[in-house]
């Protein structure tokens, strides 16, 4: 008798996405285990952001299946989708904090309205999460008063406060000034050490080398190659990955 396979935290099966005549994703299969950090790289237009956005259905898949802890994300009512989305935290390239609400209220809004947490509990949880990203002292500030890096860390706290099972990062540092990138990556590293399951779409190759369990290379809407960081960066098998890596390192130099 073989040991039962542990349930993947996130499972993408035969995912397809078409925009009109353009096929953006074709037959994507990806399993992310509990506590795993999967890093997705690829040229722009490769479909990596679209794949990520399909995971919480900000983008509607054309076909395929997505499961979070064994529960389907597709073919469910909007009400069930809202509930499932609580388990999938998302961090955007553009932060998208609510500019009319204080930092604290940004982090408590969904806790109160979607999770129905009492105000005091939501506040306590928010402060705990803000502390985790090093911004407890900014709780009463307005988003407009924060730097980009700080805003992104608040956005991470906003997602974490809902106790998600998996966190999606969609180019979380691409809109940041270089000197602010480090603070966001540090928070992500802490999260990983805390055992959070994460999928990260990013161009921070150095971070991928250090922190990723697995690196997935996408091009033309398919997963071309995947493996450990040392396999992907040290020993790329496909021509497309080699070309991509040399382009990227060319830019970095």
């Amino acid at each position: 008798m073989s040991a039962p396979q542990p349930l993947p935290t996130l499972e993408i099966t035969a995912l397809e996405k078409r925009f009109g005549d353009t096929q953006v994703l074709r037959s994507i299969d990806l399993k992310v285990a509990n506590g795993e950090l999967v890093f997705v790289i690829g040229p722009s237009g490769s479909g990596k952001s679209t794949m990520l956005r399909c995971c919480n259905r900000l983008e509607e898949p054309t076909s395929g299946a997505i499961h979070v802890n064994g529960k389907p994300m597709l073919g469910i009512t909007r009400r069930d989708l809202d509930r499932m989305r609580l388990q999938v935290g998302m961090v955007f390239q553009g932060f998208f904090l609510y500019p009319h609400l204080s930092v604290l209220k940004n982090v408590t809004l969904a806790q109160r309205k979607a999770l129905k947490r009492p105000a005091a509990e939501a506040d306590a949880r928010a402060l705990e999460m803000l502390d985790k990203v090093g911004l407890k002292h900014k709780a009463s500030a307005m988003p407009g008063e924060l730097s980009g890096g700080q805003q992104q860390r608040v956005a991470i706290a906003r997602a974490l406060a809902l106790d998600p099972k998996v966190m999606l990062f969609d180019e979380p540092t691409s809109a940041l000034d270089p000197e602010l990138v480090g603070s966001v990556l540090k928070v992500m590293r802490d999260l990983r050490e805390g055992g959070m399951t994460m999928i990260v779409v990013s161009h921070e190759m150095q971070f991928a080398r250090e922190a990723a369990d697995r690196v997935v290379f996408m091009d033309g809407g398919v997963i071309v190659e995947q493996g450990t960081p040392s396999e992907i960066f040290g020993n790329p098998r496909s021509e497309r990955l080699r070309a991509f890596l040399s382009r990227v390192s060319g830019e970095a130099a």
């Binding site: 989305r85 935290g89 553009g94 998208f96 609510y98 809004l109 969904a110 307005m142 997602a159």
Partner: protein, 222 residues
Amino acid sequence: MDFGNVFLNPDIIATYMPQMIRAVWVTIWISVLVVISGLALGAFLAGLRAYQKRWLAWPIVLFADLMRALPPLVLMLILFFGLPSLGVILSDWFVLYLVLTLVLAAFVEEIFWATLTSLPRGQWEAGAATGLSFNQVLVNVIFPQAVRTNIPQLVNRSLTISKMTAYGSVIGVKEIVSVAGSAQAFSGSATPLTMAAIAYLIIFFPAMLLSRYVENRFQYDH
């Protein structure tokens, strides 16, 4: 015939002051009712339109275009002098209230709709990604931002529509212009008209100061 006697005759002022004070109140409470219900109805219609259902959007767009195209006075005359022929009799103040509310709602709907569609899509997505329902995003994320961005426009529209209560004079509402007009006809003096102008200033100057305060109060950095 000196200037003061024509435009500010003390005897005429004393005679018509009580009527004028009542007229000021009529203007104020109709204006307040119109602004409250017009803003609420306009916001509600924009919210409905956000659901992007054709059968909802179509009538709303038609309503907004009609109400913005037709002069309010025409609508009032039709409702007040036309409808009784069909056996529907509406009181003068109600016709004034109804027409101005609908016109304000039409403009407010368009103002809100423009903002709802121009806010970054990420605001909707950030809300949805945290498990908020469409309604919750609309109420807690989108509308508060739309209100803040549009306060100057909303205030301007509200002041403009309040001054349109003067149209009530045509259908017999005893508001400021109506009372001043008949007083002028009875007395043959221009003084009641001066009183009307001053009455409007007394009402709308504080309203404008208040609106400045509100505009500053709700500004925020992006």
